[in-house]
Symmetry: C2
Subunit: 169 residues, 2 copies
């Protein structure tokens, strides 16, 4: 049984969830979601979700960044896991903060590393190419997927040089 | 007493810290650090740390993003807390992933909202303007502060239009 109480830890100025039994402080920092718009000959790779939330709806391959992972690495890993595809990142599309759920979403434009080979991963019912006019807007899983697709379409050429503003240490 | 054990939770593929008593899963996702290079007439605002780690060393005002906070808001808040200054952000300087400590650091270029008024906040011993050639490189608190200052100096003019790639929702 969890036994968290609201409390301001010593040296802190905000109320946190503190375990009344062991004193563990469960800081709720925003989580980073990393993903990619993988395009090939103008078509975009979308995945139909095999898991909740929004099971059966279409999404861009994306997921929570893991510890010690760079956002770029997370995007590559998620595409591998959800669409069984190997990609090369070409630039940052945008950073969207979804405040209500404490997520900072970073999406990258990408191409296939080799041939445009993909398949449904474990969390995916179906992976498919869509031309822009074929995208099933009414069956998109999350609003941020729509925003990212629109940002991708708009084409932010001035910030496409990834190496200039995202450095891995 | 914390009672965490390493375990793969159901539906997960990675080992996590799970409390053997209550089942709480302590996911270790990367944390976002947000901060700013606040410049005025070519001088940069630095803060001498009043707290560990690196107490007594100089840093840019920055800190962990709080729940439901946008990186831009975090940067403004940290400058307010650490240097008692009100700023306006002008653009993203860079995103640095410090993998060893699971931090994704986002720094913004900024100017004072009004007059260049500042003071030492609670976690700061001293806040001060430095011309570029005056920066005490040997007394900088963290390597990422040096990288951010250098990125700021380089000036990434092409990505200075914040609104284009960071959207708040």
């Amino acid at each position: 049984m969890k036994n968290f109480v609201k409390k301001i830890p010593e040296g802190d100025s905000n109320e946190r969830d503190v375990c009344a039994t062991c004193g563990f402080v469960d800081y709720h920092n925003p989580k980073i979601v990393a993903g990619a718009v993988v395009a090939h000959e103008g078509k975009i790779l979308l995945c139909r979700r095999a898991i909740e939330p929004q099971k059966g709806f279409w999404t861009l391959p994306a997921g929570f960044l893991e510890a010690h992972e760079q956002p770029e690495e997370g995007a590559v890993r998620e595409v591998r896991e959800e669409a069984c595809a190997e990609i090369v990142l070409e630039g940052l599309i945008g950073i969207y903060t979804v405040k209500c759920i404490s997520q900072v979403q970073m999406f990258f434009r990408a191409r296939f590393a080799g041939a445009p080979v993909f398949a449904a991963g474990e969390e995916t019912l179906e992976a498919r190419f869509f031309a822009w006019e074929e995208i099933p807007w009414d069956e998109i899983a999350f609003p941020s997927v729509t925003w990212m697709l629109q940002s991708w379409k708009t084409g932010v050429d001035g910030i496409a040089d990834l190496g200039r503003f995202s450095v891995r240490v």
